[in-house]
Every structure is written in C-alpha cells, then in structure tokens.
C-alpha cells in the first residue's frame, strides 16, 4: 500500500495531490492515480507501487 507522505513539489512549492497519470509499456497504455503536482504536473511514485503493481504489470506485458 502507498504510504501517506506529505510531498512538496520544489519547483512550484505546492503540495502534491493524487491525480491520474498515464504510463506506457510495450505499446500499451495504462493509467493510475498517483501523487502529482497540480501546477507543473511533476509525478512522484512510491517504492511500494513500483515494486508492487508496476512490476506486476510489466511482467504481465512481457509474458502476454
């Protein structure tokens, strides 16, 4: 599970919010709600999401 962290985008100095982000891998697109800067759109992915769901989807795509 994603940890609830208060993250600040240092470019815009605003708090990151959970928003939809598009991902692509092996010609497929996915979207997921992750922390994002509401001003500049910068994204932050936590490690548990990367080593969990993202890694799972990558494996699924590679073995499809």
């Amino acid at each position: 599970m994603e940890k609830k962290q208060k993250l600040i985008c240092l470019k815009c100095n605003v708090e990151m919010e959970k928003m939809d982000v598009q991902f692509t891998y092996l010609d497929r697109s996915f979207h997921h709600k992750v922390l994002r800067c509401p001003k500049c759109g910068q994204v932050s992915l936590p490690e548990d999401l990367v080593s969990g769901r993202i890694s799972e989807v990558e494996k699924l795509m590679e073995d499809k």
Binding site: Q5, K6, L7, I8, C9, L10, K11, M16, V21, Q22, F23, T24, Y25, L26, D27, R28, S29, F30, L35, C37, P38, K39, C40, G41, Q42, V43, S44, L45, E47, V50, S51, I54, S55, V57, E58, E62, D63, K64
Partner: protein, 743 residues
Amino acid sequence: MEKYYSQFETCRQHEKPYCTDECPFHLDVLDFQKKMESGRWNAAYKTYKTAVGFPEIAAELCPEYCAQVCPRKDIDDSVQLHLLEKACLSLATRKNPPDFNLPMKKGKIGIIGGGISGLSCALRLSSKKYQVTVFEKNDTIDSSLSISMKNDIERQFKFEEYTLKLNTEITNLESLNFDAIYIATGKNGSDFNINKTANMNGCAYFTGGALLGLDTIHSMAFGLDIAWSIEVFLKTKTLKSVQPQPLSKVATDISHVEIIQAVIPSNKDGFTEEEAKKEAARCIRCKCDACRVNCDLTTFTNKWPLKMRDEIISSTLSSGSLLHKTPAIRLINSCSQCGLCSETCPSHIQLDTMIKEARYSLHKQCKTPGAFHQFWLNDMNFSNSEYASLAKAPSSQGECKQAFFPGCYLGGANPEYVLAPYRQLLKENPNTGILLQCCSIPANWAGNEKMLNKELDQLRNNWISMGKPELITACSSCTKHLNEYLPEIPVVSLYEVLASKNCSGEKIIGTWSVFDPCSARHFKKTQESVRTLISNSDISTEEFHDGAKHGCCGFGGQGSIANPDFADYMGKQRSLLNKNPYIVYCINCKEVFLDQGKPVKHILDILYNIEDKKPTETERRKNKIILKETLLNEFFGEKMKNKPEENKYELLISQTMQEKMDKLKLLESDVCKVLEVGEELGRKTFNAEDNTYKCYGELGHITCWVEYKIKDDLYEIINLYTHRMKIKLEEMWNGKKAEINLP
C-alpha cells in the same frame, strides 16, 4: 525459423517404452505402472482391460515378452509385469464392464470360430454396438480355456448383445450374408481360400489367429486388431490391416538408475498391496527425457521442447495485432546458450540455436523489452570505448605474431588478472601485443545484428592493424564466439600457453574440483592445460561425476535481467555438483559462485596469488580504465589521453544501497544523471517528515528514482528503485507548456 520447426519431427518425447513395443497388445505400461505404484488398482485394471480385452485370460497366459527388453535386466532384474498384472486383477474391486445403453449400429459381422481370437474380435465389435454373430462348430467355445477364463468371457460379454451359434460348422462362405467376416478357424482350420484379406461382392474377409500359426496371446491381440480393420472397412470400404509399428526409438539414460532388487512375493498368491506398489515403483518409466534431465530451462520452466517450439514460433511470428500472443519472450531471453540440450538430445535437435535465431527475430521486430539487454550492451560499448579498449604491440611497427586477448570481464574484475599474465607472456615473447576489448558476444546474445556486425568489424580491423596475430584468449566464451564469427582469427588459450611453459602457483590445501565453463565443454586442450597448471601447483583435485557435461553457471546468454530467478537457479544447481571448493577458469563463473557462497578460486588467483572480492558494477568500470592506464604506462611508457568525466556529485552510499545498486545494475554515474534532473532542472519533491528529496530520470529503457539527503556537498543516497514503464507527461499542463523532456 521454419528450418528449426521441422527438426522437431525427430523428437522422441512421445516414443513408446520398449516394453509397450514388445507387448502383443501394446499395453500402455507407463500409465499402468503409474496407477499401480499409487495403489489405484481399479484404474490400473481399466488400462489393462482396454488393452487386452479379456484381462483374466491375458494375465494367465502372458509370457512376459517385455522382460526381455526391460533395461532393468542389465541393472538388476526386469520388472515383473506378469506378477503385477495378476496383482492388479486380485486387488481391483470394480471389474464389471460398463453398461451403455446405445443403439445398435448397422454393420453385420460374422466370425467363424469361437476360439479366443474370434471372441476377442467379437468383444471389441459388440462393445461398439455392431451386430456380431459367432459360429462355432463344437458345442462349446474354446475348449482349451479353464473355468476362470470362461468366467472372464462371460463377464466381459455381460452387457453386450451378440449371437453365438454353437454346433454350427460353416463349410462355404456363400451361405453367409454379412458386411465383414473374420475367419478364425484355429490351427488346421479351413481358410476358405482367403489369403489373409479379401474384398468380394462388397464383403470383407479376414483370416487370423491360430489359423495363421499364431500362439494364443498373439491370436487374442490379432482378433482385437482385426476388429479395428473391420470397423475401418465398414466406414470407408477399404481394406486396411494394422501395420507393424516401427521399433521404438526411445532413448533412456540408465546411468543414474538406482539398483533395486526385484520384489519377491511373500505368499504364493502373489503380491500384497505394498509389494505391488514397490515392484511398480521399480519401473524406470523408459522415455526420452534427455532434454529434461540436462537442460536447466526445460526443468525450470517445466516445459518439454515441443511445447517450447510452439511458443517460440508463436512469439516470433510477425503480427501487428494487439491480440497476437508472444508467450516465449522471457523464455527466449532466459536461455544460457550453453548448448547442452542439443548435445545430449539423441536426435540432436538444436533448441539452443532456435532460441538464438528467435532472439534475432524478436529484436528485429522490436518485441524484446529493451531493459533485458540494455545493461550488457552499455557495458560492451564502454569496454570498446576509448576509455577501456586498447590494441597495441610493443614493436615500433605496431605489429606482432601473438597478442593477448583477455576479454572485457577479466580486467573489470581486477586489472591484475590481465597485467600479471601479460607480464609473463612478454617475458616469453617480448613482442606480444595486447588487444583489449569486448568480443561482442553481448550483441549476439541480445540478437542485435547491426550492433554485432559493427563490433565484429571493429575487432577485425584492430586485429588486421596489429598484423593479424594469433590471439591468446583467457575467456572460453570469447574463444567460442571468435571461432564462430571471426574464424579467420587464429586463437590459442592462455592456459595452454602457460601450461606449455610449466607455470605453477602456490599450493592450496584441501581437495578441489575443476569447474569447466560451459563454453569450454569441447575445448579439451584448454581443460587439460588447466589441470596441468593445477597439478604443477601440487593441488589435490577430484573430478565431477559427469566431467564437463554440465550446464551454465547462469551468466551465459545474459538472461539474468530477463529472468533473475532462473539465473539464480542455474548458479545453485552448479554449486551443488559436489561438496569440494571449485577452481574455475572463467571469471563469470567465479563471480556467480561467490554470489552463491561457494568457495571458489580462479586459476589466475592460484598462479599469481591474486586474492580479490567481487567488484561493484561501478568498480568494474573503474577497473577497466585503470587497466588501460596501467598497460599504457607500464608497457608502452604512455599516458592515457582521455578519461571519462568525473561524477558531478559526491555520493554517500551505504553498503545496503550499494548492494541494491548492483542488483538493479545501476552505476554511480547513473545515479548522478538522475540527481542532475532534480538539482539542475529543479524537478524534485521534498518530504518534510524525513527531510529527503526525491527525483527521477530515464536511463534508456529504465526509469530510476532516487531518494536522497544533502549534507554539505555530499549527496547521501537513502533509497533507489527502477521500473521499465514510461511515465507519460502532458505537454500542456493547466494551460501552460510543461517540461516533459528529461535527460
């Protein structure tokens, strides 16, 4: 890929075992024994009954032809199938045939002779609901049968409708009106002038059984075969008889079969349940499983090569459809390319070569995930860059007769591995050149034809510019690769050269085993030379049970990024070959065994007293630069002109983070590239709770995230992780143009 597809026609995976081949009924012995071993008596009975028709009669008369061909006869004793058949009959509880309420079929069949062959044919056809009439001249069916055998006949016909005409002697065929007639009149009986088969006026005639001189058991089997021929005739109006099957080509390796003496029944009635299970377990289940025994990939994935072939073909077919399946991409990129599968296959099916072709095909179609081979290709590019490669000879013309070609990994592990033997080679021949570069095998393993050709050209040109010297190689993979792709280059192993000079090292205590790398499996001279060097050093050794016939340590094929679990599996399997510490002569093998916690020494450790640990990936790059710099300085009195730029940030990396970086195949320079995104572009986040920054950057096919703290000018790495998915950023965000291009 088609040429590899057709090779599989000779695959012996589905060949029958020898016993099934020999059995007149072609009993599926593998299935029967499996059921007997697990005590499923009723299931075993069903298998047996399906094959023989009348199980009590067959079990009573079985002459056990299979015992003559059972491979166990050369080990201890043949499996006692006859006793197992009897045990099956006495232990099975559901022996009645099934009762199906099916309508009768149109075909009318006449059988002349109520002997065992005619009755077998009648049983098979009546159970398929054909209208069968049996003519017997005497007042009883086969008078030679015992009461229990007659009971068996009664039981098997219990639910079948057929007409038995006793005391009816047929003297001419014209009086009969059938679609097919089986003449089984027994020894010295009349064949009505029919020579085996005939088709007259739309009626098929077959002769068989004792009339043709067959013994009882073969007559039974013949009757069942004729039932098949009659059914074919009724359906197609063609005369076909069961053809003798070609002899089984099953190839069973009995070298590992344990000696287990035959079970002797404790009482005269035959086996008890436990005895039957034990005897059935003695069956070695003859089948061709050379690939499953020898190839790690088939064992690890639990797939037979025929299945792999289909998945590989499906994955390499070109199709733009999103529905197109590519199930073998990981499998193709996992194979170590050690070649043991094709060498041990009795039909020499080249699964490894097919997989290599598949890698080229997938790369061409951009189907290979870039991250699978990116690290290795970058490493090759670095080894062949101006910072790490060198092609030089001591003579003023720059040409030489011999040049040392250590490969790129040896110097990366420790520059001394190259410097020490080069010093010795120069002592023997002062004009020995040095050709320091990667042999280009990573491009081959990645299936990247363009890159392979480019690197091979560079290597060929360097070799030509040095006066086409004989290359003294220290790595068997390089040797194998050069032999295949640049056969014009003469190659000799470093260990052969050193052994010919009677080199030796310091003695080490204990008994050691020499682990030959898979790439040196056929380099007998190299294998012998390494053993000579060890024996010169007075070290006690013990050979492996299978010699050099073992798979790869897990490094070959560079599949550890595509399938880390499989690479680890191979490493584990090889480190368990025996309990002795190993002496290796491939640096990759050494590093794999170090990771597995197996005590190991490289032959060069012994010869030159080098004691070293496995470097980090960053140290490996640094070692390559140090090696080139030292070579230039020590042997040619030159200074290195260009060096890669120093890292922009000074990093503070804990041991845990260092291990994680190596596992993720990240270099310090990679981390600095990511930090640059945060620090130079300002694209970073801040977590006030633990006072850490986080930023990310794309490193080719992977995206790397770094969490860090800044202490004065030091960047302390708190955490890092990577993924292969790309983050898609919008060019316009809230009406403003956003930066999406990361370095």
